[in-house]
Structures are given as structure tokens and as C-alpha cells.
């Protein structure tokens, strides 16, 4: 599975490529740092037009005003004022963070276990590849289909409830199976665990097996090897997986809408509701606050591990 590791050393590969091309392609007498600037221009343009500019636009619009059917330029704090003074906002942000946290813990637990099994228990490379591909099969169908197929399963008269009733475990159908926090988180975990498995598996495959032998030679128990060798060395994979899962969950709105029967809200739904009602400035203000929150969370995560160094 060395192919996988290429994904994460791409950045190194690119920089060596650049150095090579510099050697073969002569820029005349251009000084080195000018070449560097020129080479970074295309990327800078792309990032400027497709990342910086849209975000700047969102920030600007978040201060505008809106009528029923139009938005007008202004510089007012009304959108933020409404947002930050409403108790519902805090509740919704808390909900968003709660979903992200719970989903993170569960996907990490499951993802780590699966990756560990694949990397250390499955000995043959062929089987590792086969089993890994097996994990990705659900991804051949659409996100929405995988999510919605839970609804008939979990419903009041669904398969889960009728099975439990016929087994005599419960007498009354369990109402909380569907259209609840439970079903939302279940769908999140189902949808996003693979994003945890892939990077963790990838870093695990790169762990030098002799380190594990050395640990056991030195008398470390299996658990000690896990906590002292494997987990520290898998940290970058865990971090990358965590960033994927947390940003995906925090930005999601459709899963929450369908799996909670529109009864629960996260920030994404707040924004999508605003947009559908033409309240762009208010949506933009919410988006800005969400962006700040997510950036804070990611920067906290990055404090724990310097991904660039680890890679």
C-alpha cells in the first residue's frame, strides 16, 4: 500500500519536481527568488480568485442589509447583532459542536480499530488491499442514498423496531431511533468513518515494523506497544482524519435535515434556511462566524501535532 503514502508526500514530491525543473529549464539570469515568485504565481492566482476573493465577498456581504427580495450595500452590524443576541444561535452552535465531537470520538474509535486491524493483523498485502477496497464499496453509492436508506430501517414500523419487538426485547417501538440526535449521529458515523480509516491506515503502513519488534524485545506488552509506539507514530494520520471529519460534520446541513426530520438544527441548516429565504447577508454573517469557529477548532488540533513536520 505504498501508493497511499504518496498522497501525503505529494507536497515533498512537488517541491523536488520544482527544483528539478529549475535545473533543466533555464530562466536566463533571473535571480532565484524571482523565479520562486513567478512559479508560485499560478497557485497564488487560483487561491486568490477562488478562495480569498469569495471569502472576502462573504465578509463584505455579511455587513449588508436585505429586503424581501434584494440585498443592498451598507455597513451595519444588524446581522451580527441578531445572530449574537439570539439564544437559539448559541444552542445551534453548541449542537453543531456536539455533533462534531461525538462523531469525532466514534469515527476515531472505529476508524482506528479498523485501520489497526488492516495494518497489523492482516499479514498479506493482497488481503490488505482487498479488505481496504471493501471498506470503500459503500462510497460507490451517493451520500444521500446511504443516508436516506436508514429512514425506513429505523422508522416506527421499520425493520429495527419490528425485529426488536418480535424478539421480545421491547414491547413498544422505540421512538428515538429515528428523527433524533441518535439517527443524525448514526448517519454521520456511517458516512464519515472512512475518512478516518484512510489516513490512519496510511500512516500505520509507514510504521517501521522493526520498531514494534524492538518494543516487544524490550518486554513491552501489546497495550504498551500500542500507546507508546503505534499511537504516537499514527498521530499525523489521526489529525488528518480528524480535520476531515470535523470540518465535514460542522459544514453539513443535509444529513441533519433528513435524519432529524427537520427537527434539529446545526449551523449549516441555519445558513441554508437563510439562503432559501433570500436573506444572504444574514447567511453570510452566520458563515463568517462558522468559519471562525472551524478555524479555531483546527488551530487547536494543530497545536497537538505539527502535521508538516510529521509528514
Amino acid at each position: 500500500m505504498t501508493d497511499q503514502s504518496h498522497l501525503f508526500i505529494q507536497s515533498n514530491a512537488i517541491s523536488t519536481d520544482q527544483k528539478k525543473s529549475k535545473r533543466t529549464f533555464h530562466w536566463g539570469r533571473l535571480p532565484d527568488n524571482t523565479t520562486g515568485w513567478l512559479l508560485s504565481l499560478p497557485l497564488a492566482f487560483v487561491l486568490f480568485f477562488f478562495l480569498v476573493l469569495p471569502i472576502a465577498m462573504i465578509v463584505v456581504v455579511s455587513f449588508w442589509g436585505a429586503t424581501e427580495f434584494s440585498i443592498y450595500p451598507a455597513f451595519q452590524f444588524e446581522n451580527y447583532e441578531f445572530l449574537l443576541t439570539s439564544p437559539v444561535t448559541y444552542q445551534v452552535f453548541w449542537n453543531t459542536i456536539k455533533y462534531a465531537l461525538v462523531t469525532w470520538v466514534l469515527t476515531l474509535g472505529i476508524g482506528f480499530t479498523v485501520a489497526y486491524f488492516l495494518a497489523f493483523h492482516v499479514r498479506s498485502l493482497t488481503w490488505q488491499v482487498v479488505l481496504f477496497l471493501l471498506c470503500t464499496i459503500p462510497f460507490w453509492t451517493s451520500n444521500i442514498i446511504r443516508m436516506i436508506s436508514w429512514i425506513p430501517f429505523l422508522g416506527r414500523n421499520g425493520i429495527a423496531n419490528s425485529t426488536l419487538i418480535s424478539m421480545g426485547v421491547i414491547d413498544e417501538p422505540l421512538e428515538w431511533l429515528l428523527f433524533s440526535d441518535f439517527s443524525v449521529i448514526l448517519a454521520f458515523v456511517h458516512l464519515y468513518t472512512l475518512f478516518m480509516v484512510v489516513p490512519i491506515f496510511n500512516t500505520m503502513m509507514r510504521i517501521d515494523k522493526s520498531l514494534i519488534e524492538a518494543a516487544s524485545d524490550n518486554g513491552a506488552s501489546g497495550f504498551q506497544t500500542l500507546t507508546n509506539v503505534i499511537i504516537p507514530l499514527t498521530k499525523p494520520g489521526i489529525m488528518i482524519g480528524s480535520i476531515f471529519v470535523i470540518t465535514l460534520v460542522m459544514g453539513d446541513f443535509i444529513t441533519v435535515r433528513f435524519m432529524s426530520g427537520s427537527q434539529k438544527a446545526n449551523v449549516g441548516r441555519l445558513i441554508s434556511n437563510d439562503i432559501s429565504l433570500l436573506q444572504y447577508p444574514s447567511a453570510a454573517a452566520t458563515a463568517v462566524i462558522l468559519l471562525i469557529t472551524v478555524l479555531l477548532v483546527i488551530s487547536v488540533l494543530l497545536r497537538f501535532v505539527d502535521i508538516r513536520k510529521e509528514l
Binding site: 429586503t67 427580495f69 416506527r156 427537527q263 434539529k264
Partner: protein
């Protein structure tokens, strides 16, 4: 609106079919039937782009337009929020907007639509009174909310302000309308339901639902609040901030107590909730009831003592229409009111703007069942040939005058709409 998403699939097909029809017509070109008054040969090249909420965006209509009038009608179906957005922000992306009256109130001030000269509309005088002076019959009272006639007329072709009389310049030509009420599962409830207040009856805890489209949902809520005897609104269609807070407060409390199983936003969601038994009482649209029933599951569109919440849609013209296209658009509108479409829509349980013309395109029995509220003599089929009702069935709520005469309010846009929308958002999030 109301019945918005159900025809999404149809619309995609309608585009394909429309394309196929266009090709077919091109092959056998020169054969123009029907009654176009513009004989210009180049009318065949005219393409009118219509978008709307899906209820009346039917591929059969586009095909019939091609057959009768010779030009091409391209249709796009969207949900009502997307329709509003498009009408307000992309005036050049359409020629004909098929929107609801409350959407008209929202988007007319943008100036993206042009008023129609009623003297060019042949059947104008036959259009049902609701859309002209607001009165179904001379004695009837006008319901609260955004009643269609209040947003039907402006001063001139580019008038921005609605006027209170038949000025000769019409904003929308009505296409389709109906009276909505609660849908129930009589087999799971087992007793008669007579009032809107039953939606919040603790008996149905965890088995009720309401729709998550603010302009429509707030009116359903107001009907419930009045029925509970909590409050009598001076005008449900134009609440004050305090009234909005109070209304949503009552529902937020019910939500926190677990009254609702889910909220729905699209037609098919409401069908699934009802058919699966997750919900036994909810706000619903008429064709959704039919869809549940066609699965063999009992479902009733329950007439209630307090009356109906009504909605109506109409077609408006883009301000950028002119010349031949504008003539074609008038041609289309006249054709629309001539009865074929009306009959087509009425056989699905909607009402058309000029029922007397639609009658010509319906059988005696169909007219009796759908319009007059009489018991069906034979099986009643919809335009697609599917049996909707067996012989002997009577329409829920009775005749046209019984149903449209009992309208208590119209879907509305309030002066405090922005506040309401934000509060609605909070209700959903609470």
C-alpha cells in the same frame, strides 16, 4: 406553494419530451393546428422559457402547446423558495414565471415582471371572482392573508404598486388554486377530526407534523392557534411582531414537548411520513393525499370547521419579453384559459381560473365529482389514466363553492415577514 416538488421528475422528463416533441414537430413542420391568431411562419421558432413550482409544469401542457400553438414551451420545475429566488434575481433566465400569489407580492417590486393588458385576454371576464374583485360569489367575504386580488392589479404596464381595483393591468393570470387543510390517517386515529386544534392535541404526541415553509406554515399555525381559542388575530395574514412571537411560542413549546415527529419540506416527504405511519395528522397538500391513497393506505383530506387555508398560482411575464415573443406569450395565456389545461388540472383535483371553459374538456361525471361535489357514477381517473376514486365516492369537502367558499386565509407575506422568517428559523432550530 403548496404542491411544489412532486413533479420534479416529470419536469425533467418534460424537458426531454418537449425536446422530442420539438424534433417531431420540426419533421412534420408546416402543420399548425389549433387557433393561433398570429400566422407568422416564424412563430415556430419561438421558444418561451417557463419556470414554476411544478404543479402546473407538466410535460403534457408543453406538448399540447406545441401541437395547438406551434411554438416551444420549455419548462423548469423548482421548489417555491428557488422560484422566488429566480424571479427576484435572474430576470433574464425566463420568459414566463409560474408563481404563487404570495411570491408575486415578494418579487413584483423588483420590476422583473411586466403587467398584462387585460383587453388582450379573451376570457378575462370569465375568470373566477376570487382573482378579480376577491369575491367568489357576490355575498362572500374576503379571506385574510395575501388574497390573490390584492396583488393582481397594478396601474400600468410597468406599475410597481398594487392597486385595489380592476385596473386593466394584471400581474398574474391565475392558473391553478386549491383549498388546503389537514391530512389524517383515519385508521390510526379512529375518531372524527373536526378542528385545526387537533394538530397540537397531546393525543397525537410524536405523531404530528407541520410543513417547514414559513409563509405557508405560519398560516397553518395561525389556524391552529385560533382554533385552540388562544387568540383571535385581527389579521392572520399580517401579524404583528408580538403575534408572531406568541404563535411561534406556542408551537415551540409543543415541539419541545415532543408533539412533532418531523417537519417536512417537500411533497414526497409528506407522503412518506403519512404512508409509513410515522405521522397520523399533518399539514398536507391535496395530491399528496392521493399519492398516499394510491398505495392502498386510507388517508383523508379532512375538512375542518374553521375553514381552509388556500393558495393560488398564476403566470406572469418577464419584463424582457417583447415583439413576437410577447405576442406568443399572450397567445399562450389565451390558450391556457381556453379550457384544455383547466380540464387537465381539474381532473387532478385542482381548480382552474375559468371553470366553465374547463367543463368542455371534462366528462359529465368528472365535472360532477370534482367541481360539484356529487358522488361519482363511475370510476374517476386522473389525466394519466390512473383510477383516483371508485364509483360512489364523494370529494372530501364537497363542491367548489363549499370548499373555496370556506377559505379562512390565503398563504401570505406579511409586513413583518423578515422578522417572521428569522423567528421561524429559530423555531426549527429550537
Amino acid at each position: 406553494m403548496t404542491e411544489k416538488l412532486e413533479k420534479k421528475g416529470v419536469s425533467r422528463r418534460s424537458i426531454l419530451k418537449g425536446g422530442a416533441a420539438a424534433t417531431g414537430a420540426a419533421l412534420g413542420s408546416g402543420v399548425i393546428t389549433g387557433f393561433p391568431t398570429i400566422w407568422a411562419q416564424n412563430i415556430k421558432d419561438v421558444t418561451l422559457r417557463q419556470f414554476g413550482t411544478g404543479v402546473s409544469n407538466l410535460n403534457e401542457v408543453a406538448a399540447k402547446v406545441k401541437e395547438d400553438l406551434g411554438f416551444t414551451l420549455e419548462m423548469t420545475a423548482l421548489d417555491s423558495d428557488a422560484v422566488t429566488q429566480r424571479a427576484a434575481t435572474q430576470p433574464d433566465s425566463f420568459d414566463i414565471a409560474d408563481i404563487e400569489y404570495w411570491i408575486c407580492k415578494k418579487v413584483w417590486p423588483t420590476g422583473n415582471l411586466q403587467a398584462m393588458d387585460t383587453s388582450k385576454i379573451k376570457n378575462y371576464d370569465k375568470i373566477v371572482g376570487i382573482f378579480r374583485d376577491g369575491k367568489l360569489t357576490p355575498e362572500s367575504t374576503i379571506a385574510q392573508g395575501t388574497a390573490p386580488h390584492t396583488v393582481s392589479f397594478v396601474e400600468g404596464v410597468d406599475g410597481k404598486e398594487f392597486v385595489d381595483k380592476e385596473s386593466g393591468w394584471m400581474t398574474l393570470i391565475p392558473t391553478i388554486y386549491n383549498a388546503d387543510t389537514l391530512g389524517i390517517r383515519p385508521d390510526l386515529i379512529g375518531r372524527p377530526i373536526k378542528n385545526w386544534s387537533e394538530l397540537l392535541n397531546p393525543e397525537f404526541k410524536g405523531k404530528a407534523s407541520i410543513l417547514d415553509i414559513s409563509s405557508i406554515g405560519i398560516m397553518d399555525m395561525a389556524m391552529v392557534v385560533e382554533s385552540m381559542g388562544e387568540y383571535k388575530y385581527p389579521d392572520k395574514g399580517n401579524m404583528t411582531k408580538e403575534e408572531i412571537d406568541m404563535t411561534l411560542g406556542i408551537f415551540t413549546e409543543a415541539k419541545k414537548n415532543g408533539q412533532f415527529r418531523a417537519f417536512w419540506k417537500t411533497f414526497d416527504e409528506s407522503v412518506n411520513l403519512m404512508a409509513s405511519g410515522e405521522v397520523v395528522i399533518q399539514s398536507m397538500w391535496s395530491p399528496a393525499i392521493t399519492a398516499v391513497r394510491s398505495q392502498g393506505i386510507p388517508c383523508v383530506y379532512q375538512p375542518l370547521e374553521e375553514g381552509y387555508r388556500s393558495w393560488g398560482g398564476g403566470i406572469g411575464l418577464s419584463k424582457s419579453l417583447s415583439g413576437l415573443e410577447l405576442d406568443a406569450a399572450y397567445e399562450y395565456i389565451n390558450w391556457y384559459l381556453d379550457g384544455w389545461v383547466g380540464g387537465f388540472l381539474m381532473r387532478q383535483g385542482y381548480y382552474s381560473a375559468v371553470p366553465e371553459n374547463s367543463k368542455n374538456y371534462m366528462s359529465e361525471d368528472e365535472w360532477g365529482f370534482w367541481f360539484e361535489g356529487k358522488a361519482a357514477e363511475g370510476d374517476i381517473t386522473n389525466p394519466f389514466g390512473k383510477v383516483m376514486e371508485k364509483a360512489g365516492a364523494v370529494r372530501d369537502g364537497g363542491s367548489f363553492y363549499d370548499r373555496m367558499g370556506a377559505v379562512a386565509c390565503w398563504n401570505a407575506v406579511m409586513d413583518e415577514n423578515q422578522y417572521m422568517v428569522r423567528k421561524w428559523n429559530e423555531f426549527i432550530a429550537a
